[in-house]
Symmetry: C3
Subunit: 434 residues, 3 copies
Amino acid sequence: MFRLIEELYPICRSITGDGLRETLRLLQRQIPLELREVRTGTQVFDWTVPKEWNIRDAYVKNAKGERVIDFRKSNLHVVNYSVPVRRRMALAELREHLFTLPGHQDWIPYRTSYYEESWGFCLSEKQLAEMKDEEYEVCIDATLENGHLTYGEYFLHGDTRDEVLISCHVCHPSLCNDNLSGIAVAVSIARVLQSAPRRYSYRFLFIPGTIGAITWLSKNEDKLGNIKHGLVLTGVGDAGRLHYKKSRRGATEIDRAAAHVLKHSGQRHEILEFSPYGYDERQYGSPGINLPVGRLSRTPHGTFPEYHTSADNLGFVHADKLGEALAVSLEIFSVLENNRTFVNLNPKCEPQLGKRGLYRMVGGAADAGLSEMAMLWVLNQSDGKNSLLDIAEGSGLWFESIRQAASVLQEHGLLRECSGCVPSAAGLKLGKKS
Amino acid sequence: MFRLIEELYPICRSITGDGLRETLRLLQRQIPLELREVRTGTQVFDWTVPKEWNIRDAYVKNAKGERVIDFRKSNLHVVNYSVPVRRRMALAELREHLFTLPGHQDWIPYRTSYYEESWGFCLSEKQLAEMKDEEYEVCIDATLENGHLTYGEYFLHGDTRDEVLISCHVCHPSLCNDNLSGIAVAVSIARVLQSAPRRYSYRFLFIPGTIGAITWLSKNEDKLGNIKHGLVLTGVGDAGRLHYKKSRRGATEIDRAAAHVLKHSGQRHEILEFSPYGYDERQYGSPGINLPVGRLSRTPHGTFPEYHTSADNLGFVHADKLGEALAVSLEIFSVLENNRTFVNLNPKCEPQLGKRGLYRMVGGAADAGLSEMAMLWVLNQSDGKNSLLDIAEGSGLWFESIRQAASVLQEHGLLRECSGCVPSAAGLKLGKKS
Amino acid sequence: MFRLIEELYPICRSITGDGLRETLRLLQRQIPLELREVRTGTQVFDWTVPKEWNIRDAYVKNAKGERVIDFRKSNLHVVNYSVPVRRRMALAELREHLFTLPGHQDWIPYRTSYYEESWGFCLSEKQLAEMKDEEYEVCIDATLENGHLTYGEYFLHGDTRDEVLISCHVCHPSLCNDNLSGIAVAVSIARVLQSAPRRYSYRFLFIPGTIGAITWLSKNEDKLGNIKHGLVLTGVGDAGRLHYKKSRRGATEIDRAAAHVLKHSGQRHEILEFSPYGYDERQYGSPGINLPVGRLSRTPHGTFPEYHTSADNLGFVHADKLGEALAVSLEIFSVLENNRTFVNLNPKCEPQLGKRGLYRMVGGAADAGLSEMAMLWVLNQSDGKNSLLDIAEGSGLWFESIRQAASVLQEHGLLRECSGCVPSAAGLKLGKKS
């Protein structure tokens, strides 16, 4: 995953344009991603697909002809979506188009101007301090013309039409955590799930933030009914703890699965309530869409100083943190895949586990094995109203041990899966203090 | 408000009689209060309107003819509703009619005997210690005869017949916090609301405690259906923190509005559960009446030593505390006035705020403005199931900023008020830890 | 109770056999218990009534003919349900049949082998260390043959057919807390309730653990509908605090009654959520039975070192602890007996308590008496939706004071019992922080 991030890092992405296309084509080497192109001017709900932006070069040259701001050194130097400009001007005039980050001498901020035609440069405080009051040559060699918005989509068929949506944004230029970390983990999830048995189908979206999600949703309203769970992946590579942000509905199966997996992960973590600010969960969780889509991140956007600056670089993301995020994501999907509801076929008193070889044979010992506890919980709660996740939550036991217990009990004819059963919405109210 | 309290302080009020009438007439100089008279003997639910009590003078004179207890010095000296008496008696006999407050040498307790015919004097421990074993002349120049119970009512019409009830008791003699503070704040509320636009009608009751509320309720059963919210005001002038006591139903709109306003007031405060003890919220919250009426007070009755003693005097109430209570009350009513339910007219994904001038124009900054957050919350939650107060509670934002956001969004055609919408009873379950 | 425990302590009980019968016959001296016999081989749900086990003697003799392990010294020395054996063998072979308790030099563990035919001896670590490598004479003079499973049942008629079930296990040999303490308290409950007025009927079961409960349930399915509340009693004599374990349903009337009684007991205690491990609440709480049966214990089984060892002896249980458990149990049943629902016959405003002699006659005092508070709570909440236990929980007052208030109010014609009223399931949501 880290190598993929290294490869993608130098590319100047935006919400449209060739940087975005190049990024998606690199991903096609890993997974059979399909690229979609949506024409400029297309109406997507309340929005319009914007002109396509492409940039070749940009600089500010001083009186000596030296590039004091140089796009070739960092693509953050240009305000993303700047209109073309090629002029000479005094510092005073130029100054209104320069953006720095007070408090961080060496960092370049990241700025965009997608929906208002303007131009600008971002630079470090140190660079700005060195600029003399002289005339500068300003060049942004960009085009902003009718074209297309591009996104990538990969649909992995499962046993059923029910889908899990995995979405990440691909519109940020050289920013590692906020963009590339989510892309890298999503690609790895896809590669793992390709070769795993799947009850659910999985749909992976690699889309420009906001406008991409809106575009996809507006063109795929007929598919929304199939989406049973979803996860936005972003900012999963920094050194902070994992944060799961709940879907708008707030107690959906993926919300509960994620909370369960994180609780049993042994890692410090946070569960965040839904709020209508953040990444594309905003769109998936708008009132007219209202899909059960949560978000997995580490330190939340906007709360770490490196956010949207040149310091969100290759040194800011860590291979082991990406690995942990991948593992947690896969375990969440494993809970969803295996979260079924069973009915105890011997519901009056406990079945005699001993005669089936499922019980310690010499009684009286002070401690029962953990898997016996799991079997007892599954038997006790499998009345058709509790899913395995309900039982895991109620018992305080790990989902995997509950799943294994159910599997053994089913093999011994003590349980039957109940596909028509609808677990009580709120889940099991028993159990450990949270 | 403090000046009104000073003016009312010397009057000897009771649950009936001329002191009560004089009090209400003084209030008529401030607001167009209507005085109602209900005849002695009138049956009001399980109670009977009592005889009218009036007092001219009262004293206990010692052998030298000196007034050792003198009604003219403090009207608390006479047990309220004492029957007339004019006799000479030894200290031993008189002693059974004397009430002091152990532990407070200089304070005179406040005692009443409304529903049992008896008489008595209240005095300080110090006064009692100075009384010698001699013969005393005892005089209570009072009358207890058929007459009327008086109360004041002021109805302020609003755009709808739905009412807010504001009730305070007016039956305590020279006690400032427990009586006059509530009266003063209620009068000020009335004066402010007179000149404000009003969705609700407001009904102000200035009534003797218990029997007054029972009398009003028994004579106005046909109006109870209009009362959508209510507030008992009392004990709001001392130096303690504000306490809001919930209505019997416990999660009504005024309960939630009051909790919201106090939470965002920046002041320390307490929210109390309903209990069937206290002031007239007991009657409004009886099971057969069950109106959504809460109570605003500061230090709860019975929990401060000055309660029901001569120490609840002009020095015990503070102009700034009255002002704070007024401000909080008005803000609660403002929340009720403005708590409407809207429907997002662009519910699929976010509307493009930028093209409407509702969004910062250069993207990428780490912090969104607070009012943008308010707009996003209102848009996200306005699905007809959440009122603005629901959204304020869910988002943790101040109601006023939510209201302003809704107003701006409505002006831009993004929201429509939904008068037929019924917000989910329990409110939004999202949001900040409380 | 302690004397009964002393009397029962030496008997070698098991899940069948003469030790069990002798135990039940000793209980018949205290209460008119009926003994039931169920034939070996009887199918009871998923289980089969096992062969009857009886033992006369057992020992291991060393080469000198000395009994180095002697059943006559402690009946824990033989693995309960050992098949007969009479052989000579070397230590190495014998070793596989010996069980000790690592970490406790002098304690003999308790082991059973009910459902697998095997044999063994339990002994202390110290005894084992003294056994030389020589030939031993091994004798278990026991029979394991077709016979019966025995249990005791005592049904105490009440005014209604609705039943309270009280169940304790009687299958453990010389173990005091885990077995005899529950038996002793159950017998005392029966003796007290015999001479008390009873709305409910009470059914006492003295049964072998697991198989006994399963047997009784399987043969009495037609009676289960009558069981409205139930309590498993066990491990109530040690020095630890009381623990009430909730029934499977988790918020039943006995769960709430037990929590209320323990809260007001002034003793430290714990409320445990249901789990499908423990004593016979497992069977009563299986999904196809699902009776509202909780469990009262002190230190939970398995969490104290003396559990299932010879150290659970007469010194481990305390007469005063048994007394406390008895008192708490009786108070729980008293709450159930008296938990009725009333309707306030004067629901509009408060009734005038004073004219009925139910109120302090001189008003104005800062504190109302507690029983007045209880009356006000009962009047305020008796709208047919709240039982007396609901009101006690909501007010934070003790059930007994609420009950007394209701009784006085009923005498004065202010309340009427509402037998058809169904209190709101979740109880009153008002009230004190828990």
